[in-house]
């Protein structure tokens, strides 16, 4: 039969790509999972066989074209196969976060009209069982790990293996069924509905087509020259578009191996064993690793420590230039070469980074020195910017043009535009989603008629076209001179300094920018002890002239930085004060996730803000505090207000 064949030949869906991989690299390893002490492996051919069985099995269960099927669990090969199987049948996978509670799940199951669920284990099954009665549409649950399920007698529970067995029977009976089903699939079909937990309101189901994902995968694979030889460690939640893109879309397109850790507890050791060549981690992870490295090195013998810091310094001077193939004096090159043997390579090796060719970080701003540290070791770390609505990313830093403070120029095939009024970032990309599932008005709000997607993030283009994300659009204000005021961006810059724990900058609708600072008691405390500065309390330390000096340097460093950006140069901090108490979630000044509550702070510290905008350099405060034991109390202190030097914009806006 000719028709299915030419459809299959089009390779425009993931099931078709799976067939291709099984054909061209059938005995290359496709999936590994650390289980029973070793890396259990499956080649592409074996995976195809497994998927084939599962597909038919699901069909036997009654999964039909257009159905939605949820997938819940830690990263497991079997669950990745479930994606392929479901898509083979023309049904749509709806992955859920494995750590989400029953109620969150319930919303998605209802809204997504989910009929079937493929879950990892007893834990997930129990969650679904507990909401079964509230989700009338949910018909059957397939569980992968039988451990502890022995006592469960419900008819609608099926073991993964059993389903596959059924599938093999059906497959034997109707050998053509599998390929025909795949052949029915088309590029424009819906590939996945990825629910995004919006900061406000209910989650929205982002509908992505095969064309979206396959095309984005193609572009990115070519952009990074990814080959079938790559190894990735899949440890980010499967329901997160990032993991779906790296560990599923790209893996199937490029045909490289996906490795699943034994458990979340062993990720670090598993990382070390596998030694991925292609790696993603959020900034926090990289920051923690760096801190651990430094702490562990403190316990080393002094000679080793000296050597370590010496060579880290060398790397700091020339590492990045060497990584980016710029000219470096021979002596330094020699030092670096020596350091590579004595420190960098062993260090990367103990961290499991030896084989990494490309590493991404995204999702939050990363401290520049952390970023530089990794790159200086010859570790190709890059930042990117994206969201579910564009299948992962629409901006990325190309090799050789990587900077700590941008997310790079538009990715291949993408366009970026900054909305003049709001400063909001808009993009167009081949990955642009079809729309939100059963939510046209939200779709309309986000995606305008000529296809520009509103990210809700405020950003600026550097003069050479890199994008800088500076804040959530709604938080961005304006100074009276009409220039952009992005508090969070400035606060983050301040917080990158270890001495500064929290910062709150003011300036919306004002003529200049001022700031509240919270010092980091540990960092500044150590610093104070080292220079024999005794203090009794946070308040005491915060009031010290020396500390103000220290902080002023940081603030001015930030100013120098801001001055480089034509758009932000006028947001330099003119005056600041160090708060007499630490901002505290218990006092409602921070959210539980340590985000500043601007409104509350604004009216609680109104007089301080006014003082910052007056010309006084002293002010007496009384503040409500909640002590450890919960008692309320008032502390009095008089706060200094300090001027900070500002700088001329280096480049004029043009």
């Amino acid at each position: 039969m000719a028709k299915p064949d030419e459809s299959l030949a089009r390779e425009d869906t993931f099931p078709k790509l799976l067939l291709k991989n099984a054909r061209v690299r059938g005995d290359r390893v496709a999936y590994r999972e650390k289980d029973f002490g070793i890396w259990q492996s499956w080649t592409w051919a074996e995976v195809l066989d497994e998927v084939r069985a599962l597909t038919c099995g699901l069909a036997a269960l009654g999964v039909e074209r257009g159905d939605t099927v949820t997938i819940v669990g830690d990263n497991r090969p079997q669950l990745y196969w479930a994606f392929a199987a479901i898509q083979s049948l023309g049904a749509v996978p709806v992955p859920l976060y494995q750590d989400s509670g029953a109620d969150e799940m319930q919303y998605v199951l209802e809204h997504g009209e989910v009929r079937f669920a493929v879950v990892e284990d007893q834990e997930q099954t129990d969650k679904l069982l507990s909401i079964m009665d509230r989700c009338p549409k949910l018909e059957a649950i397939v569980y992968e790990e039988p451990r502890g399920m022995r006592g469960y007698t419900q008819a609608f529970l099926h073991e993964f293996k059993a389903v596959q067995e059924e599938g093999r029977k059906l497959d034997a009976a109707r050998p053509e069924f599998f390929l025909d089903e795949i052949a029915k699939g088309k590029g424009e079909d819906l590939a996945i509905i990825a629910y995004t937990s919006g900061t406000t309101g209910d989650p929205k189901g982002v509908m992505l087509s095969f064309d979206n994902l396959v095309e984005s995968a193609r572009l990115s694979v070519e952009f990074e020259h990814l080959t079938e030889k790559e190894e990735v460690l899949s440890y980010m939640p499967m329901a997160w578009i990032g993991d779906h893109f790296f560990s599923y879309a790209q893996a199937l397109y490029a045909g490289f191996a996906v490795n699943c850790p034994e458990s979340s507890a062993t990720v670090m050791t598993d990382l070390n064993e596998i030694g991925p060549t292609y790696y993603f981690a959020p900034p926090a992870v990289f920051e923690n690793i760096l801190t651990n490295v430094m702490i562990r090195m403190e316990d080393a013998g002094w000679l080793k420590r000296k050597m370590f810091h010496y060579f880290i310094a060398v790397a700091g001077r020339v590492g990045i230039d060497i990584l980016e193939r710029r000219a470096v004096p021979v002596v330094e090159r020699l030092r670096y070469w020596l350091g590579r043997y004595l420190v960098y390579e062993p260090l990367k090796n103990t961290l499991g980074f030896t084989r990494i060719r490309v590493a991404y970080t995204a999702g939050a701003p990363m401290g520049p020195e952390v970023f530089r540290f990794y790159r200086s070791l010859g570790f190709n770390l890059k930042q990117l910017y994206g969201q579910t609505e564009c299948c992962a990313y629409c901006c990325i830093q190309p090799d050789g043009d990587v900077r700590p403070d941008t997310v790079g120029p538009p990715a291949p095939g993408c366009e970026i535009r900054i909305d003049e009024q709001t400063g909001e970032v808009l993009y167009k990309s081949p990955g642009t989603f079809i729309g939100y599932f059963k939510n046209p008005e939200a779709t309309a709000q986000t995606k305008d008629e000529e296809g520009w997607v509103h990210t809700g993030d405020a950003g600026i283009r550097t003069d050479d076209g890199h994008l800088k994300i500076i804040d959530r659009a709604k938080d961005v204000g304006k100074l009276t001179d009409g220039t952009l005021f992005a508090p969070q961006y400035i606060e983050n810059k301040l917080k990158f300094f270890p001495q500064i724990k929290e910062a709150v900058v003011h300036g919306n609708q004002r003529d200049r920018v001022t700031a509240f600072i919270n010092i980091d008691l540990d960092a500044v405390g150590n610093w104070a002890e080292r220079r024999g500065l005794s203090y009794t309390s946070y308040t005491d330390l915060a009031g010290r002239e020396e500390v103000y000096e220290l902080i002023r340097e940081n603030v001015e460093a930030v100013n120098r930085d801001l001055a480089r950006d034509s758009e932000l140069s006028s947001s330099q901090i003119r005056r600041f004060l160090i708060l007499h108490k630490e901002l505290d979630a218990d006092d409602g000044e921070l959210t539980r996730t340590r985000k500043v509550r601007r409104r509350i702070i604004a009216d609680r510290y109104e007089e301080l803000i006014e003082a910052l905008y007056s010309d006084r350099d002293q002010i007496v405060v009384e503040a409500q505090v909640t002590f450890e034991d919960g008692r309320q109390g008032v502390i009095k202190a008089d706060l200094k207000i300090s001027e900070a030097e500002t700088f001329e914009p280096l480049r004029k806006a043009g």
Binding site: R32, G37, I38, W39, Q40, S41, E231, N272, E273, I274, G275, V293, R296, M297, D299, A300, G301, K304, M307, F308, Y341, L342, V343, E345, P346, L347, K348, N349, T350, G352, F353, T354, R355
Partner: protein
């Protein structure tokens, strides 16, 4: 710091349980083997082979044997010398009785004979433990030596009372007797030790080895989970004695050429015990390190004065040697009671963690 283990993951139990799971170690071992089999025979001279390398190999074999018994199975034995004597005299008797028999086979046969004797003297180990057992094994030591000394049949009633290695060829190469080249004897000894070490490693990482260690660590628990004590202990004695027997045979036939029972006196038993304790109880590598250490040190001590250029009376020097030897032993026990193998292990861990301290 030389270790680059990232990416060396194990996809099968076979590779996970390999003797050298780390690639870098495998390369190192290959290098060592090449040096031992190719380089040394070419570069080393008569003196080195005869006075240093061959004895080191012979004692490594004995140390391996004792380590299996004492280090792994936890049965303290001071009978090593006696068992080596059995091996030596058995070889002598067999090869003089059947000159046609390939000498290598004879070595193995005498190993088996020794194993039998070992089992015999192992029987008390079921009732007698610890130092009591150690003393009991001295019975074997003294009795056996006495036996070979007294009963003429064992040395074919040679008036000198000594046994002498008759010339024997293997594949046309003379490997025993006065005409045997040092290189040939060295290579034969090396081959034996290599195989023995491999076999020992295989044993200790398998069921038998685990049973031995179980008995060593807690015999009651071991028996309750189904490890038959007597059988297991006797297996340890048998295999250990086999090794010692072969070592004794090699000692006479590949090294000394001829000897009387004096060569196997209690001192030898203690030397071998030193080897495994300085080297590391319960470690194959340790057996080699210990053997090397104990065989080399006296040589160093004897030659040291000449090197430095001091001349002194023989017995003065003898006394000094024994003082320094004893001192060094105490020193080593204090520095690292678990032996050189442990030192190496610690060092290796540091290299693997480099640049981190832990």
């Amino acid at each position: 710091m030389f270790y680059r283990e990232t990416g060396q993951f194990k996809a099968s139990y076979a590779s996970d349980e390999a003797i050298f799971p780390i690639a870098q170690d495998r390369w190192a071992v290959i290098a060592i083997v090449i040096v031992a089999y190719v380089v040394i025979p070419i570069v080393a001279n008569e003196y080195w082979l005869q006075a240093v390398l061959i004895p080191a190999l012979v004692f490594s074999l004995a140390a391996l044997g004792l380590n299996l018994l004492t280090g792994y199975a936890g049965q303290l034995s001071l009978g090593t010398g006696g068992f080596m004597a059995v091996g030596a005299y058995a070889t002598y008797k067999i090869t003089t009785a059947f000159p046609e028999l390939n000498i290598l086979v004879v070595f193995l046969l005498s190993g088996l004979v020794t194993a039998g004797v070992g089992v015999l003297f192992g029987i008390p180990s079921l009732r007698i433990k610890g130092f009591y057992l150690a003393v009991a094994t001295l019975a074997a030591q003294f009795f056996l030596v006495w036996l070979f000394n007294r009963v003429g049949w064992f040395y074919n009633y040679a008036p000198s009372g000594t046994i002498t290695a008759p010339p024997r060829e293997v594949f046309g190469v003379m490997i025993t007797g006065p005409e045997a080249k040092a290189e040939a004897r060295y290579l034969v000894a090396l081959a034996f030790v290599t195989v023995a070490a491999l076999a020992a490693k295989n044993l200790v990482r398998g069921r038998l080895g685990r049973s031995w260690m179980a008995i060593r660590d807690m015999d009651i628990a071991a028996e309750i989970i189904g490890i038959p004590l007597l059988q297991t202990k006797l297996s340890a004695f048998a295999i250990s004695s086999f090794y010692c027997g072969v070592a004794g045979a090699l000692m006479i036939f590949l090294w000394l050429g001829s000897a009387e029972t004096l060569a196997f006196d209690i001192g030898v038993s203690f030397d071998v015990l030193f080897m495994i304790i300085i080297g590391g109880l319960g470690s194959i590598l340790g057996s080699f390190l210990g053997a090397a250490f104990i065989t080399l040190m006296p040589i160093l001590l004897t030659n040291a004065p000449q090197v430095v250029g001091i001349s002194m009376a023989i017995d003065t020097q003898k006394d000094l040697e024994s003082i320094i030897f004893g001192g060094l032993i105490i020193f080593f026990l204090i520095v690292e009671p678990h032996g050189l193998a442990r030192l190496w292990q610690i060092g290796k861990e540091k290299l693997r963690r480099w640049p981190f301290p832990y």
